[in-house]
């Protein structure tokens, strides 16, 4: 075969992004997870337009409608497909709004924790020395305690409220990022491009954030995806225990907790459906994270 024949006339440009996309799509279960996640995000983003009623507008609620089983008719002629809670709130609407709150708390906490973890772990790995030893000792001690315990200590210490929950979630999470980015950076900083950057006498801050950081990102993305799911679960657990978000911002955990007292009298739907929503969210995120881990892992590249 001649060289000319091998060169195709139309060459697909393979960018790293395209490779990641095509690798990701190789696993149908992961694609299902991604599609499910997209639907959930869509529902959460456009909840005000998609929900039949505004669950916080007391004028729209009717006490006569309270604790109706799924499929009941409303006075106005509509249907409560997922039933109503003790205040006559449509569960479907409450779930959409709850999804919004749960997701935003999880994502905000994860992003802030990621930034803090990067800011602590990257310089620690690059400069080493006492600062590194100190940061890593704190990380080690923190990671030897379960997340729920640390979150509970913080809530006990800080008091309750949305911002306190986010602070607790950040404190729980930053250590994972600091540890992951450090181990990635320790490998990266011995590579030639970092040496080259040093020979150019670039300032350390530039080397750390412009050269080291982008190359340490892939494992961070995987950890962050897993941690979003963990943060959402933890927030739901705290809210269920009555130590999370205030009653004015009912996340999925709070909705489940609301239905707890009605469970024993057979009114399952008040707890059941928000739980299913929570479950689908967490499972879809975990499926995506699982595939991302394989796709972004350089050791598994084909």
């Amino acid at each position: 075969m001649s060289a000319r024949a091998v060169t195709p006339s139309v060459r697909a440009v393979e960018t790293p992004f395209r490779r990641i996309v095509s690798d990701f799509c190789a696993n149908p279960i992961a694609v299902c997870g991604l599609a499910m996640l997209a639907v959930i995000l869509f529902l959460a983003l456009f909840a005000p337009f998609l929900s039949p009623q505004n669950p916080y507008d007391l004028a729209q609620l009717d006490v006569m409608d309270s604790r109706l089983p799924p499929g009941s008719k409303t006075a106005a002629g509509g249907t409560f497909w997922l039933g109503t809670d003790d205040q006559g709130r449509d569960m479907w609407s409450a779930i959409l709004y709850g999804l919004r709150i749960s997701l935003s708390v999880g994502v905000i906490a994860t992003v802030l924790a990621l930034v803090i973890g990067l800011a602590a772990g990257l310089p620690a790995a690059y400069f080493g020395g006492r600062a590194e030893a100190l940061v890593m000792r704190v990380v080690d001690i923190q990671l030897s305690f379960p997340a729920i315990l640390i979150a509970l200590i913080l809530i006990a210490v800080l008091g309750q409220g949305t911002s306190k929950v986010i602070i607790a979630l950040i404190t729980v999470q930053w250590a994972y990022y600091a540890r992951t980015v450090r181990s990635a950076a320790l490998v990266e900083k011995r590579k030639e491009y970092v040496e080259a950057a040093r020979c150019l006498a670039l300032p350390p801050a530039r080397i750390v954030f412009r050269h080291l950081l982008p190359n340490c990102l892939p494992p961070m993305i995987v950890v962050a995806t897993v941690q979003v799911a963990a943060a959402i679960t933890l927030e739901a657990t705290l809210s269920f225990l009555g130590l999370g978000l205030p009653i004015t911002e009912p996340s999925l955990g709070l909705l489940i907790s609301n239905g707890y007292q009605y469970l024993l009298s057979g009114k399952y739907w008040i707890s059941f459906f928000p739980g299913i929503a929570l479950l689908l969210t967490i499972v879809s995120i975990n499926l995506v994270a699982d595939q991302l881990r394989d796709v972004l892992n350089p050791r598994l590249q084909r």
């Binding site: 030897s144 305690f145 315990l149 800080l158 739901a236 657990t237 225990l241 469970l263």
Partner: protein, 326 residues
């Protein structure tokens, strides 16, 4: 080894001290327990009397020193609500939590290791795949919601098991009240313990599977097979013994996590353990109990971590205990 133990112990004392300082300052900075504890109709004199009785009129640092000198004498303060020793309250609830955590661990080991072994030996079989998918669910499912659903199915719909509380207790060795000695007690125990165990079942399945998967490719397994040993002996002795080291470590470390996660399970099933006490105490701002609980559990954790490290070096002679540099 001895030097290592001494250093670790000193480090633990420092961690405990810093923890106590932070928790004490934090817990005493939020809210005002007087508003919750005292009758709102009480007049100013009664109020001040109550504040003085609880020692809340003194500056924070003085309260802390009173607390610290108490700790040295084994006294972690008195509960505002119950007016008894905070440590006593916790110790009274401890057997219930321990029983729950132990039972959960037994369930996790009895389910997790055989299932994981099965999935590891036949990774491509239907059973193996089902087990692995199930273990993903075990990680993803929020524990408290699974607990609620268990109550829904087994208590409300089927009516097989009681939904909350602890059954009658009998004294084990004349000392520790346990509930697993009677049928009623077992019925109360089985649901919360299974709920608590779920996460660890999934964890042990994954750990055992990957261990078995790797061990099967090793030369010593090929050699054992070449010797003509039975399959049962190859797996039961050669494979299992070699994958047991990480499993034992995780079981040890997870025991602490079980006690922490018991907080959630105890709340769902109204199990009268330490975790329920903590949640109740946070609700009524019973500061001494909160601080005492956290100190007790952190001490517990430090002890478990240390014990696991020591055990690890005993099980695996390749491991030497030395403090990492820096």
């Amino acid at each position: 080894m001895l030097v290592y133990l001494i250093r670790r112990s000193l480090q633990s004392v420092v961690v405990l001290f810093v923890m106590s300082l932070l928790v004490f300052a934090g817990v005493y900075a939020i809210g005002n327990p007087i508003d919750i504890l005292i009758n709102p109709q009480a007049d100013q004199i009664e109020r001040e009397h109550a504040i003085a009785a609880l020692g809340l009129d003194k500056p924070l640092w003085e309260q802390y020193f009173t607390f610290l000198s108490g700790v040295v004498h084994g006294d972690l303060g008195r509960s505002f609500v119950h007016s008894t020793s905070a440590l006593g309250l916790i110790l009274e609830r401890m057997p219930a939590t321990m029983e729950l955590a132990f039972t959960a661990m037994v369930i996790a080991v009895l389910l997790g290791i055989p299932l994981g072994l099965w999935a590891g030996l036949r990774p491509n079989g239907i059973a193996g795949r089902t087990i692995m998918t199930g273990s993903i669910l075990g990680f993803s499912l929020p524990t408290f919601w699974v607990g609620l659903m268990m109550i829904m199915v087994f208590s409300v719909m089927l009516g097989w098991l009681p939904s909350n509380g602890r059954g009658p207790t009998t004294l084990l060795f004349g000392l520790i009240p346990v509930s697993f000695m009677s049928v009623d007690g077992l019925q109360h125990l089985v649901m919360p313990a299974t709920n608590l165990a779920l996460f660890n079942v999934a964890l042990l399945i994954r750990l055992t599977r990957s261990g078995a998967h790797e061990a099967l490719l090793q030369d010593y397994v090929k050699f054992a097979r070449a010797k003509g040993l039975t399959n049962a002996r190859v797996i039961g002795v050669h494979v299992l013994r070699n994958i047991l080291i990480p499993i034992v470590t995780v079981i040890g470390l997870q025991f602490g996590a079980l006690i922490a996660f018991a907080i959630v399970t105890e709340s769902v099933f109204a199990w009268p353990g330490m975790g329920k006490l903590l949640i109740d105490s946070i609700g009524v701002l019973d500061r001494p109990v909160i601080v005492a609980y956290l100190l007790v559990i952190v001490t517990f954790f430090i002890a478990i971590n240390l014990a696991v490290d020591v055990l690890y070096s005993a099980l695996d002679p390749r491991v030497r205990l030395t403090e990492s540099k820096g």
